[in-house]
Amino acid sequence: MKYEKSFLWTAAIAYLITLLILPLNLRNNNEKILLETIQENIDAIYLNKIESNIVFELYSFLIENSKLKIINSNKFNIQDLISFLYLKLKYFKETMENYYRNKGVELNIYFFDLSISEYSQNLLYNPILLNSKNLLKMNDIEGTLNIFLKVIISLNKGNIFLNRNLNLTILCPCRIFLLNRIILETIKSINQQITLLTQYNITDYNEIIKEFEIIIYNTKERIRNKYESRQIKIDISTKNEVNFIDGVYEIKFFLSINTYDMCEIASILLNGKRLYPVIAEEYAWLILLNGSIIEIH
C-alpha cells in the first residue's frame, strides 16, 4: 500500500513536470535559434562596416594618389596615371585583405576597368561620397578628372556572405584637362603671332627677339587675366639662343609653361607642405633670318 502511494505520487509529479517542461523546452529551442540569428545579425553589421570602410577609403585613396601622381610627374599622361593607380590599388587590396583576414573575415577585393576621362554633365556622382571629401562645395569643375572603376567586394564571416558589385564614378578635384587646354591655347596663340613675323620686314635678329618677348608678355597677361579668377596660375619662362652660320642667323626660342590648379581642394599636404597640381610643357621655335627673309620652324 505504502509503495503503491509513492509510485502514484512519483507518476503524478513526473506527469506535471513533463507538462511544464515541454513548453519550456520548446522555448529553449526557440531561444537557441534567436541567439544564432542575433549572432548572424552582428556578423552582418560587421561586414557592412567593412564594406563601407573599403568604399569610402578607396574613394579617398584614388583621389589623393591621382593628385600625388599629377603633382610629381607634372605631365598630362593618362596612361601613366592609370598604371600608377593600378599599382596603388594592389597595395590597398593587400592591406585591407590582410587586416580583416586577421580579424576572422574572408575578404576578397577585385578591381577592373580603371579608366580616366574628363568631367561631363552626364555623369552621376554619389552625393554621400562627394560630401565625404567635401566635394559638394566645388563649383568650378570644368576640366576635372574623372576616375571610373569596377569593384567586386566579397566578404564572408561564419554563415554570412556579402557580395557587392560596384561601379564607382569618382570626381577627382583636379582640373588637369583644363590646365592642359590652357597650355595648348597659349602655345597656339604664340605660334600664330610668331608666324606673323614672316610678314614683317625685319633684318635685325635683336628686333625678332624683342618682338618675341612682346608676344610672350602679351599672351601671358591675356591668359593670366582670363584664368586668374578661376584660381589657375600660369608661369611662362623663355630662353633664347642665337647662332650665326653661313650668313644666316639661327634664333632658337625655348618656352616653358607651367599651369597650376590653385584650388585648395585640388592640393595635397605632403610633409607639412601644401602642393598644387601642375601641368608643365616645353616648346621650341627655330627662326632663320637670312637678310630680310624669315623662316620659322
Partner: protein
C-alpha cells in the same frame, strides 16, 4: 504520511526539473547580452558611417598629416554617439599605439568597431569606436 521513498522521488524529480531550467536561465542572460551588444554594434556603425559622410574622417586625416591636435575632431565624432550611451573614440597606429583618445567608459561591457584610415599615401591608422552597454 510521506515516506522516504516519496521524499527521494520528489528530490530526484526536482533535480531533473532544475537541470532543464538552468540552461534556459543561462540562455536568457546570453540572449539579453547579445541583443544589447547588437544594438551597440549598430550605434558604433552609425557613428563611423556618419563621420565619413559628414566629412569628419577627411578632417581627421588632414589633422593627422599636419600633426595637429586630434581632440577637437574626435570630440566631433564622439558627439554623433547618442547621449544615453558611453562612447570612447580613439586613433591607433598600426603598431597598436594609441595616438589620441576621447571619452571614457565606466560600464563593464563594451563593443568595438574599427576602420582603417589611409593617410599621406603610405601611412595607415585605425579609428576605433567603443560603445558601452
Amino acid at each position: 504520511m510521506i515516506s522516504i521513498l516519496d521524499a527521494l522521488a520528489a528530490f530526484f524529480i526536482t533535480l531533473i526539473f532544475l537541470s532543464f531550467i538552468y540552461p534556459l536561465y543561462y540562455n536568457s542572460s546570453e540572449l539579453s547580452f547579445l541583443i544589447k551588444s547588437k544594438h551597440a554594434y549598430e550605434i558604433a556603425n552609425r557613428v563611423l558611417a556618419l563621420s565619413y559622410s559628414l566629412g569628419y574622417i577627411e578632417e581627421l586625416k588632414e589633422k593627422l598629416v599636419c600633426n595637429e591636435s586630434l581632440e577637437g575632431i574626435l570630440n566631433k565624432i564622439a558627439s554623433i554617439c547618442p547621449k544615453e550611451y558611453e562612447c570612447e573614440i580613439f586613433i591607433k597606429n598600426f603598431n597598436d599605439e594609441i595616438i589620441s583618445k576621447v571619452g571614457s567608459i565606466k560600464k563593464n561591457f563594451a563593443i568595438e568597431q574599427e576602420i582603417i584610415l589611409f593617410t599621406n599615401f603610405e601611412e595607415k591608422y585605425l579609428l576605433i569606436v567603443r560603445v558601452a552597454f
